[in-house]
Subunit: 277 residues, 2 copies
């Protein structure tokens, strides 16, 4: 049974900011979880036009009844500087996807994208240790996933990004933080890999294709895609055509929700209780 | 039966801004009306600390999925300058309590407080023509009510405000717009009146008393109060103690809702239809 979403003058606000915003699932998922826990709180979608970002975010953080923010494309890196403090992982990644207001009014930021992706893969019975990974995209989500994959002990990561400076910078940051890891930028897919991840926005718009030239996939290749869509994305369709196991944006999102709820409201009783003061 | 309030990435936002905000009823009322009409839209409470107002409002108006604003204490006058255009009545009053986004992205403002108060009084069987009115408060709501009362043909209005310059300015503005009306500022309640209105915030906080020295009321005096509270405010209690008919903040609020819904979404079917494109 789903508890009704409430809206009163005393409702506490959490917001997800992005451009575009209509495709996001968090408002529904988090608002229902808040309601189920008996909390008078909602997650609202907030469409921040990219050109207005720097002016709008300080204003949102100044609202007296806003307790937390989620951050989606294209703002995860730009949001970092608006946090009062961030976790060491977020600092290494250079991006955050969640901010919470502390009791003193300051804002703490952290990044849950990578943890969500890893949880999604594990939930599908996959083992990540030793994998040789091809990853498209070295932006906010891509950085988080690569960082989490290194933490899981993958064998290597090759990063392909439309902006070669961005993939080189991410490889350098990860190599610096984890000296033993084998992470490098690449201008094209390597000849061999047993895991491929799309961490770009390619696949979000109708008519999009694959994020790069993949060719045929061996059945043991694990395919990941950060895009959340109604049907299978081009990347997931490619996995299905070659009999590969896959982790999509929904799996990744599901993996994040509990972690983020705990970050926002440590006292939230997931089985129908109250948010502690 | 109440339709469930929805929250998705595509939900359109309406916001009520004020400081404080937890006491407002509009989020519940409007969100339920939107839901009942099948519209994927909500009214969220937004607590804008007064010192942040000038920085926050342009940011809110820049949000891509915000279609309208309601404005409450203490921002109704300050909001006027953020509208691209306002109604002639709002221009005379010098305040607005609603803004809607037009198709070209501009913002139209209007003031519905006065109309709501008049509708509330008429719904309680009262006649306003010819009344001699004592009104406390010449701010945003007070200006709107005085303007609407003049429009209903009251006999006279005496305005008492903690800031004498404000009541004098309102009297001058109304006399200028409606040359035949008898509106004047007063430093204290006149000896005789058959209607008294509280348009100040006095009565909102526990321990508040009356907005001024009223003495005993004759039974025919109509008492109005803009404050919305759980129980009777000091003003409404005073009316009840003297057997007077009264119009409270809830009556006034109810009178406004249909008018504002029509302003926000002219195509809204109040009996369960859709918002037209």
């Amino acid at each position: 049974m789903t508890a009704a979403i409430r809206m009163t003058g005393a409702t506490r606000l959490y917001a997800i900011v992005g451009d575009p915003i209509a495709q996001v699932r968090s408002p529904e998922v988090f608002s229902e979880r808040f309601a189920a826990a008996g909390a008078n709180a909602v997650m609202i979608p907030v469409h921040v036009p990219a050109a207005q970002f720097d002016a709008v975010i300080p204003a949102l953080l100044a609202l007296g009844n806003l307790d937390g923010l989620l951050v989606t494309v294209p703002f995860k890196a730009r949001m970092l500087s608006f946090a009062t403090r961030v976790s060491p992982a977020a600092a290494c990644i250079g991006a955050i996807n969640a901010l919470r207001r502390e009791a003193d009014g300051s804002w703490s930021g952290d990044m849950f994208d990578g943890a969500g992706f890893v949880r999604g893969a594990l939930a599908k019975g996959e083992r990540l240790r030793g994998r040789n990974v091809l990853q498209f995209g070295a932006g906010g989500a891509g950085s988080a996933i690569a960082c989490a994959l290194v933490g899981e002990g993958v064998g290597s990561i090759r990063l392909v990004d439309a902006d070669p400076a961005r993939s080189a910078a991410l490889a350098a940051a990860l190599t610096n933080s984890f000296p033993g890891c084998d992470v490098a930028a690449a201008s094209a897919p390597p000849a061999a890999f047993d895991m491929v991840v799309n961490a770009t926005p390619v696949g979000m718009r109708p008519g999009d294709g694959l994020p790069g030239d993949l060719g045929a996939l061996a059945p043991g290749v694990l395919v990941g895609d950060v895009i959340i869509a109604e049907g299978p994305t081009p990347m997931i369709r490619h996995a299905q055509q070659h009999g590969c196991n896959w982790v999509n944006g929904r799996d990744m999102h599901a993996g994040q929700i509990d972690a983020i709820l705990g970050f926002f409201a440590p006292g939230l009783r997931l089985a129908g209780g109250q948010i502690a003061a």
